[in-house]
Symmetry: C2
Subunit: 198 residues, 2 copies
């Protein structure tokens, strides 16, 4: 034991936060204790209040303090467009970019037979239902460009075909600000294939 | 804005924890929200209870939920030995190693004229008082092997000279498990100079 049980418990819990290991949890705990009033107290309150108030949006699967979430409830959003993402983190990334005018649908992961994750483990039925019921005209598949992501994209596309909505996916290409020299061959081939008039 | 104000505030506070940046704070917040019952709630409670109960030991400067701290109150500790450290983190490191049989004294930093940190900003007066009053026979200076640490060590040694206690410092040498090839010249010279019979 290096500290009181109370501090040890705090360190153990902090060590389970992604991004912190056992060593940095110790450093974080010390820093928090030193900044008790400015950081530790407010953080405790923010965590407690978030733990109490946060709900998952029953429409899209986003995380918010209201259900439906602020995005689903926002009347200024395009009603015909649904952007399908794997996780809430991806949703946040697209929102930061302000790239999507419509609403979202969080699958909660990707199909992954090796990990035993099938269609029933993802929020796919909810997507089909949304697309079938409302006046949806386009579904943008913003899944990751990984094997699992693409498998999921194909599966969802097949399921949505009978509804007749337009299904699109994100463009592949050179990241804005990226240098060609550092890009992989797959991205470069895709960027050349999808070249556009200058 | 990417999430509700409640979640944004949580992310902002998490980003101020050392070891987490803005990006990893976002990831941490999502993970915490997903593990609401197992991690987020308990962490909120641990932080609140620590913020409320933790005190600084008036004897040695350690952090604990009791004053004097568990180490100062431990009757099995050698009463004649005080190990002087810069920070509570150093104290914890020595305690993990079980290397010190006596008690500690946390200076709270090092002398650093460039940063405007003088003797009055550190808990040096308290050390001199402790050494003068109790039956202290040895003071081990376990300060860092940096310029500031060594300056502080010299200053403390001079101050303690009139008391007649033995003042020692940590040995310099090859870290246990370390490879010579990766060590700096200063450490290697010190290790050769302090060589011992095999």
């Amino acid at each position: 034991m290096t500290a009181s049980p109370e501090i040890e418990r705090l360190i153990q819990l902090l060590a389970r936060v992604p991004g912190l290991g056992p060593r940095s949890a110790r450093r974080a705990a010390l820093h928090l204790i030193q900044k008790r009033d400015q950081l530790m107290g407010p953080l405790a309150e923010a965590l407690a209040s978030a733990a109490e108030r946060i709900v998952i949006c029953s429409v899209c699967g986003n995380i918010d303090t209201a259900d439906p979430c602020a995005i689903c409830a926002d009347a200024r959003r395009e009603t015909g467009l649904i952007c399908v993402v794997e996780t809430v983190a991806d949703l946040w990334a697209l929102e930061r970019a302000g790239a999507v005018a419509g609403r979202y649908h969080v699958l909660g992961g990707t199909l992954s037979p090796l990990d035993g994750i099938g269609p029933d483990d993802l929020n796919i039925a909810g997507l089909v239902e949304r697309v079938g019921s409302a006046g949806i005209t386009e579904v943008v598949l913003a899944v990751n460009a990984t094997v699992d992501g693409q498998t999921t994209a194909h599966y969802v596309t097949d399921l949505l075909e009978p509804t007749g909505v337009r299904v699109s996916q994100l463009a592949h290409g050179v990241p804005v600000g990226g240098e060609l020299d550092y890009l992989d061959e797959g991205t470069l081939s895709a960027a050349v294939k999808a070249r556009r008039p200058f």
